[in-house]
């Protein structure tokens, strides 16, 4: 899995979270992986799901020991899966 950018939005809430992710994804190429650190509660309920709904692929979502989450998302537009 190629390493991409990391975006920390643990201190943000909607809709700032979405704006930051949108901008971060725009700077990536199709198929690149974006690592997103986000807080529990509403953010983790909404962000991964909506990324998927916008066509990106959620590769992994892990709860961290401090209660935040680490999300790996692959930017949409890649042909097929990781090779």
């Amino acid at each position: 899995m190629q390493s991409g950018k990391t975006l920390d939005i643990t201190n943000d809430s909607c809709p700032i979270t979405f704006v930051k992710i949108k901008l971060a994804l725009e700077s990536l190429a199709a198929g690149d992986i974006l690592e997103i650190l986000l807080s529990g509660g509403e953010a983790v309920k909404n962000v991964p799901r909506s990324l998927r709904a916008e066509g990106h692929r959620v590769v992994a979502l892990e709860k961290q020991s401090n209660g935040t989450y680490r999300l790996l998302v692959e930017k949409e537009g890649a042909s097929g899966k990781d090779s």
């Binding site: 529990g40 983790v44 309920k45 909404n46 991964p48 799901r49 909506s50 990324l51 998927r52 959620v58 590769v59 992994a60 979502l61 892990e62 709860k63 989450y69 999300l71």
Partner: protein
Amino acid sequence: MDIAELKKGGFLKQLQKDYFAVRLRVAGGNLTLEQLETVHQVAKKYGKGYIHLTTRQGIEIPFIHFDHIDAVRGELFAGGIGLGVCGGTVRGVMACQGSYLCPHGHLDAKELSRQIDEQFFAAQVPGKFKISVAGCNRSCAKPQENDLGFGGVIKPVFRENDCIGCGLCADICPAAAILLQDGYPLLDREKCINCGECVTACPTAAWRQGEAGVRVWAGGRIGRDPKLGEVAVAFLPLAKIPAAIEASLGFFREHGRSKERFGKVIERIGWRKYREVMERAVRQDA
């Protein structure tokens, strides 16, 4: 023209002599721009330069003079707006944004409120009867504050192949109905409250929406003796909603005293009896 007749038709007598506030018929809190234009024109021509937004997503045009009542009614109708109601009737039906545009929604609340309005608006009952529809159990349209309230619920279905084992669904399930076993979620249907949060949150759509329905609350009201509605039916299939409303109105008509609120009637006659009536109606209506 007598006052009682006026009242039924949505003209509310004001303190000011010979003036009425005209209540409009609004379903689900949406008006088209054309309807809004009509409201604007009528208020401008006959009112006092403003409109009033009611607490239940309705509109009232204040300061309509007695002499203009027929003209106002006619111009509103011509512009696609009906009059609201007062007294012992089914009132304007409220709705939240619902699944049409809210990410949390599991029910097209606007559409359901439109259908309920079409079928039951202004139906005669002993006391006022308010209905509200919410797209999910977050209850933005406050179904529990209404004589009858509906909230979208769903039965979750699992597709193992899509699951990445993140555990989010188990974390966020408000009923603790999902346990992780060997990294995969396992659903306890007994505990599940059908809120659909797992379906909404799952980042890979491994949880999907199965059968859709509504939770029904009854007996809620604000007024002089406020009380939240109680759950009358935990999961009612969408097709049974008209039968459930019909049964509730029937129960109200049979047992209610003039101006009594629905919840008071249920409390007086008994929840057990009301639930029986509901169960029967929902079962026999194919």
